[in-house]
């Protein structure tokens, strides 16, 4: 133990050791400043630890089961987790960020819901969603989903072939195209962004729409479609870029002319009418030859993109003799 032996304390302290009053005050001010700064930082760090909750508000999902039988078009690749497929959506009517629809789409009312059938059909009509749901047995199909933004998912959908429904609509022989028109309602979509020609519109050549892969979709992951995924009725064409898959459809319009489609109208160089997945035709701003597969890992693998998203056997014949570089 170290003990200091000092008889007289007074004599041990030199005047140079005594802190002058003003220096002491300055020191106190600085200390206050440092403590204040440290406190602010601590508070900041504390707040930062709550950021994940801000990014992923724990919303209650009222899952409603949708029974189905297994379909035949299934990929065995690892499925994208449900939470990711339902929190990363391009549904601009509910905001332009991919995290927006999960936060905002709860304002969408999916009942009552009807779908209008218009244009070149035997008899224009309005069909109730309950009737559409019961029209054919629901089957599940696990499809690859390729976004034009060069990411992809593997999603189990529930529905039945669009061709079945189109037969119900009874298009005239003169009809060559079908247009899908999505809901637009400022009341249900308070974040509806300006600068777009709403409602959202997409379309297919009728023979494309009749291909058995085209799915009229009511559910995913064994349950009724969450609002942000296009409830209560949407289409899924797995060989095309995701934006072709119109969501929350309120009208099918049959026509003999190629219909106007939303993204093609906005920027025809970047988004063609056909928009088949094609690794040889780049998007002007990025390559389409690779895709980031959204899975359960923090650093997902980038994998090569396949022609027609791997569905060439089923759909390539639709485009025989077509220059797919021109009709991208």
């Amino acid at each position: 133990m170290l003990l200091r032996r000092s008889g007289n304390l007074e004599s041990a302290i030199h005047s140079s050791d005594i802190t002058p009053q003003d220096a002491f005050e300055r020191y106190r001010r600085q200390r206050r400043f440092v403590i204040g700064g440290a406190a602010t930082l601590t508070a900041g760090a504390f707040a930062a630890s709550y950021l994940p909750e801000l990014f992923f508000p724990s919303t209650t999902v009222h899952a409603q089961e949708l029974p189905s039988t297994p379909g035949k078009y299934n990929t065995t690749e690892n499925q994208t987790p449900f939470a990711k497929a339902t929190h990363y959506n391009n549904f601009y009517e509910f905001g332009t960020e991919k995290s927006d629809p999960a936060k905002n789409a709860h304002t969408l009312k999916t009942r009552p819901w009807t779908v209008q059938i218009t244009g070149m059909v035997k008899k224009p009509q309005t069909i109730d969603i309950e009737k559409i749901l019961k029209y054919r047995p629901i089957e599940s199909r696990i499809y690859r989903h390729r976004c034009v933004e060069a990411w992809s998912m593997v999603i189990p959908w529930e529905g039945y072939s669009l061709s079945e429904f189109i037969n119900l609509c009874e298009p005239l022989p003169s009809a060559k195209f079908v247009q899908f028109i999505s809901l637009v309602d400022k009341k249900q979509m308070p974040d509806l962004p300006g600068g777009y020609d709403w409602p959202y519109s997409e379309g297919l050549r009728l023979d494309e729409a009749m291909n058995p892969l085209a799915l009229l979709t009511f559910g995913c992951y064994g349950q009724v479609l969450p609002n942000q995924n296009g409830a209560p009725i949407r289409v899924v064409m797995p060989w095309k870029y995701g934006f072709k898959n119109a969501k929350s459809i309120v009208r099918l319009h049959f026509t003999d002319k190629q219909p106007k489609t939303t993204w093609n109208e906005i920027n025809s160089q970047e988004y063609g009418f056909y928009s088949n997945v094609n690794p040889q035709v780049d998007h002007p701003r990025w390559t389409q030859s690779r895709e980031r597969r959204i899975d359960s890992s923090a650093f997902p693998k980038t994998i090569p993109t396949q022609m027609f998203n791997g569905y060439a056997d089923q759909v390539a014949s639709l485009y025989n003799g077509m220059n797919l570089k021109r009709y991208y």
């Binding site: 400043f33 930062a48 994940p52 497929a85 929190h87 997902p300």
Partner: protein, 235 residues
């Protein structure tokens, strides 16, 4: 302001500037990043945003300190913040190269762990043609890369001894390129968002205000300069 206070303030500034990176690391280690639907896109946007915000913060110092001589000491933080802008821009670039371009980081890390360090280069040899192709083809990458190159040049010439070696005039000429970097970074942002998306408007507004403040200051200086006294010859 005393040297010690400046030192303490600088320490705090470092902490504040490094905090976003710590937050990102925390986001990763806590498992929250895995839950993000597209973690690579998240990291890309996170580092890109902070690079841009740091760059704007460093550009804000000069107009701010001109407001009052009492905050002239702010100038001592300009280089620090500017270097952090370069730091986050480099992280942004690294994200593009190692996570976005197809470079298989998980496999490379596993390879290193199992005693095959050569995989680092093998993987690079595989992806660099893609990256080069991207750089040649995409203007938003070109303009972003230009901004990074400028920041690199400014970072390399930022130490005081290099400034002295270059001479103040030359150094200042070079460092005026920071405006070009700011403009290039904002253009990079506009060119990568989809048609109709206006998210870059806030940073654009800030940049425009900061550039206008400089223009206004130099104009004001020109007009308020005391006139040369007129000497009239008296005969």
């Amino acid at each position: 302001m005393s040297k010690r206070v400046i030192l303490i303030l600088k320490a705090i500034a470092h902490l504040v500037c490094i905090a976003p990176l710590l937050q990102l690391l925390h986001f990763y280690t806590s498992g929250a990043l895995v839950l993000d639907p597209d973690p690579v896109a998240y990291i890309t946007h996170f580092t890109g945003d902070w690079a841009l915000w740091m760059l704007l913060a460093s550009l804000a110092i000069t107009p701010l300190r001109r407001l009052s001589p009492r905050i002239a000491w702010l100038i001592r933080f300009r280089r620090l913040i500017g270097l952090y802008a370069f730091f986050y821009a480099s992280l942004h670039l690294a994200t593009y190269v190692f996570l976005f371009s197809g470079y298989d980081l998980p496999t490379v890390l596993a390879g290193i762990h199992s005693g095959h360090p050569g995989i680092v280069l093998d993987e690079w040899k595989m992806v660099w043609p893609h990256i080069w192709d991207d750089v040649l083809k995409r203007r938003f990458i070109q303009v972003g890369f230009t901004a990074w190159l400028i920041l690199l040049a400014l970072a390399v010439t930022s130490p005081a001894f290099i400034m002295r070696a270059m001479g103040g005039k030359n150094w200042q000429r070079l460092h005026r390129l920071v405006y070009a970097a700011g403009i290039a970074a904002v253009i990079h942002y506009w060119w990568l968002v989809k048609t109709g998306v206006r998210t870059p408007w806030k940073v654009t507004a800030v940049l425009v205000i900061l550039l206008l403040a400089r223009a206004a200051y130099s104009l004001a200086k020109r007009f308020s300069r005391p006139r040369q006294p007129l000497v009239v010859a008296k005969n």
